[in-house]
């Protein structure tokens, strides 16, 4: 097939707008923080999770002259809505504000980042939606930021990183999940680290490829934590979207987790169903990177092992270089499943997408 294989009107659940530099956020910071940025010479908060020049961070042809990918609403729109004919894009901004150590500074920069997304992206293209970036450094500040941004119905999700200071299930985070539930916002957990701990439980790895590979175990730990601590017993309406998590690790992880749940459930009595049942009810995963072999039959088998047609969400992960050509959905998905993950699964996940925004 030479034509672009697209799902017209798809909801692209993972698109990354780039912040060019800290200066771009200055108009959205108050005087104190603006002065701080200038006086302290702070010009970059780029995260080590995505080294700017790494091949995985952007496909070469998606970089502009200065090497920055996804630098404007128009560039992103041309690719996502133009070439791929998607109808909606959810913007997940990965600028490293979640790594800051000062909770005050983190709160100020999250506010600035979310306001920047509104002004430079959401206001420029009505097909765009976004996630609220929150300062996990301080739970009260995080809830404040959700309350502040949730009024704008174009924010459809709350966004945190996969690797945190402490596991996400821990009880002091629960006010955040209550706020998510209150406002119909899924908790989106995206690949990346706040770098409070080594990115592996065996210390700091040598190579970047190990850092990126370690994201999948990072997601597994968070899934175990959210379930074991009882988050879903307390917040039955909470949905969690694992974004850029990879997909094929899920069955193997659940087999092991399910087996130990059978043997050890007395330790966590509020986990009253098998983990895979909880996962099917509460978790969704975006499809890129789809970490199966290229062979369509292997892809088919990997999907079958998930035992759920509801769990995957369409996502290009633009501009990260996860696939070649236009194969946002890898070969091996049936036409019906392609359609389902592109439209109905995202609509069932993101309550706010069903509204006429604004």
């Amino acid at each position: 097939m030479t034509d672009v294989m697209t799902e017209v009107g798809a909801i692209d659940c993972d698109v990354h707008p780039s912040v060019p530099d800290v200066a771009a956020l200055l108009p959205h910071l108050d005087t104190f923080w603006r002065d701080s940025v200038v006086e302290r010479g702070l010009n970059s908060l780029d995260s080590n999770s995505y080294p700017l020049k790494s091949p995985l961070t952007s496909r070469p042809e998606w970089r502009n002259k200065s090497g920055l990918p996804a630098a404007s609403a128009k560039e992103v729109g041309d690719q996502v809505f133009g070439r791929w004919q998607s109808g909606t894009a959810i913007l997940n901004c990965l600028y490293g504000v979640q790594l800051l150590f000062s909770e005050d500074m983190a709160a100020a920069f999250c506010r600035a980042l979310n306001d920047w997304v509104v002004k430079e992206w959401l206001d420029r293209d009505p097909r765009m939606r976004a996630s609220i970036v929150i300062p996990m450094q301080n739970v009260e500040y995080a809830v404040d930021e959700i309350e502040r941004c949730a009024k704008d119905r174009r924010f459809v999700q709350v966004l945190v990183l996969a690797m945190q200071e402490v596991p996400l299930g821990r009880r002091h985070f629960w006010p955040i999940y209550a706020a998510c539930e209150r406002h119909g916002l899924p908790l989106g957990i995206h690949a990346g680290s706040a770098y409070r701990n080594p990115v592996t439980s065996l210390g700091w790895p040598t190579w970047y490829i190990e850092d990126y590979a370690a994201q999948a175990p990072g997601f597994q730990s968070q899934m175990a934590s959210l379930i074991c601590e009882g988050v879903f017993a307390k917040h039955p309406g909470l949905k969690v979207v694992l974004i850029e998590s990879g997909v094929t690790w899920l069955p193997g992880f659940l087999w092991r987790f399910g087996k130990f749940w059978r043997g050890l459930r007395t330790e966590v009595p509020w986990v009253d169903r098998a983990p895979w049942e909880i996962v099917r009810d509460h978790f969704r995963l975006t499809i890129q990177p789809f970490d199966a072999p290229d062979d369509p039959h292997a892809v088919e088998r990997a999907i079958e092992h998930l035992r759920s047609d509801d769990i995957l969400l369409y996502a290009s992960d633009y501009p990260h270089w996860q696939f070649d050509g236009d194969a946002v959905i890898p070969a091996g998905f049936s036409p019906a499943l392609r359609r389902k993950i592109a439209i109905s699964n995202p609509l069932a996940t993101y309550a706010r997408l069903k509204e006429d925004a604004r």
Binding site: P167, V199, P205, P217, A224, S225
Partner: protein
């Protein structure tokens, strides 16, 4: 998992003779057994300070186990002592009862592995190896593992060379939670010496790396500690591949013990996918990451993955390779897998023969 097995009920073993090699059997080598092989200085030190693992508790574990000693309730010897500390009782309850022809001993604590005091680890590893030889002398079905003080690469290599050629030793023994990921340079002397001695390196889940058990800090529950062993194993395999140790030692063989295996195919796929983009960073790799997995890794069965659909388990086993999977019981621990019922019934006879014994006999050169 805690069904009582009477030690005498089946003294004649099973009716249909199946050759079973148990690749994960845990002898309890008491500190008293090791005493003759420790200097007076270290003996006094142990009496005074004990082992100090890289966590806070001086006795016991960071996460309390769900049963005493994490053992089967029926594995406590009637004559007293800790589970698997009484050779005669475990012969009856385990080796004879199941008709096991060979069992690889993987001693856990007290062996000093991962202790904060590396010199103490060096002394205790050697003593643990001497203590195992006492048992192999009394029970020829048992095989020893060369316990190495893995945080000291040079001392570990010396311990391996000291044991090389002794047919009582079947493998080199490490734990999965090392202070750095197992591919890192500090561990290379271990792999060099293991290859030189023609011994596979068995890496058993557990240990304390000194780092939090997740990349988001410490989890709350023992059940998470148990699931996290599989995440640590993923990181470990990734490190060994990416650091290029299999290019340096093409004959190096790694056995993943009690790490599970359901995650292994997906890890290979993920690494292959990333390698396609990032191979410029790791030019020392000569083939796709999953090829290294196929060529250099073996897995043991317990804790046997339990899939919702039994066909999926067979599929995963086929992806790994029926010639790479080796039966293990984990005796005497609570999550012990019974040799008679743990493997999927739909395996062919040939597959059963390989998994129960053939693969292990070939790898460990047991005949």
């Amino acid at each position: 998992m805690n069904i009582e097995v009477s030690a005498k009920a089946r003294a004649n073993g099973q009716n249909t003779r199946l050759d079973i090699v148990d690749c994960d059997f845990h002898p309890k080598l008491t500190i008293e057994m090791m005493r003759p092989f420790l200097s007076n200085q270290w003996w006094v030190y142990l009496q005074t300070y004990g082992n100090r693992s890289r966590h806070g508790y001086s006795k016991g574990y960071a996460y309390p186990k769900m049963t005493p000693q994490a053992a089967r309730r029926d594995a406590w010897p009637p004559g007293g002592g800790l589970p698997a500390s009484d050779l005669e009782f475990l012969q009856q309850q385990h080796l004879d009862y199941y008709g096991i022809s060979a069992a690889i001993m993987n001693p856990l604590s007290p062996t000093g592995q991962g202790d904060m005091n590396i010199e103490l680890s060096v002394a205790m590893a050697s003593a643990a190896n001497e203590a195992q030889l006492i048992w192999t002398g009394r029970e020829p079905r048992l095989k020893s593992s060369v316990v190495v003080p893995y945080e000291d690469g040079a001392a570990s290599a010396a311990e391996i060379r000291k044991r090389a050629g002794n047919k009582d030793f079947a493998q080199v023994f490490m734990l999965s939670r090392t202070g750095e990921a197992a591919g890192r340079k500090r561990y290379w002397p271990i792999y060099e010496a293991a290859v030189e001695a023609s011994l596979p390196v068995g890496i058993h889940a557990f240990g304390y790396s000194g780092w939090p058990m997740t990349s988001s800090g410490y989890p709350s529950f023992y059940i998470e500690e148990m699931t996290e062993h599989a995440t640590a194993a993923q990181v470990m395999v990734t490190s060994m591949i990416m650091e290029g140790i299999f290019e340096r030692w093409p004959d190096l063989k790694i056995v993943l013990i009690e790490c599970g295996f359901g995650w292994l195919p997906a890890l290979g796929w993920r690494l292959d996918k990333q390698w396609k983009r990032l191979k410029g960073e790791v030019p020392h790799l000569q083939m796709a990451p999953s090829e290294y997995i196929k060529k250099h890794f073996w897995v043991t069965t317990q804790p046997m993955e339990e899939t919702e659909n039994p066909d999926h388990l067979l599929e995963v086993m086929n992806w790994i390779g029926m010639d790479r999977i080796m039966f293990s019981s984990d005796y005497p621990h609570w999550d012990f897998d019974d040799p008679f019922v743990s493997l999927p019934p739909s395996l062919t006879d040939e597959q059963r023969r390989k998994i129960y014994s053939g693969n292990a006999r070939a790898l460990y050169q047991l005949d």
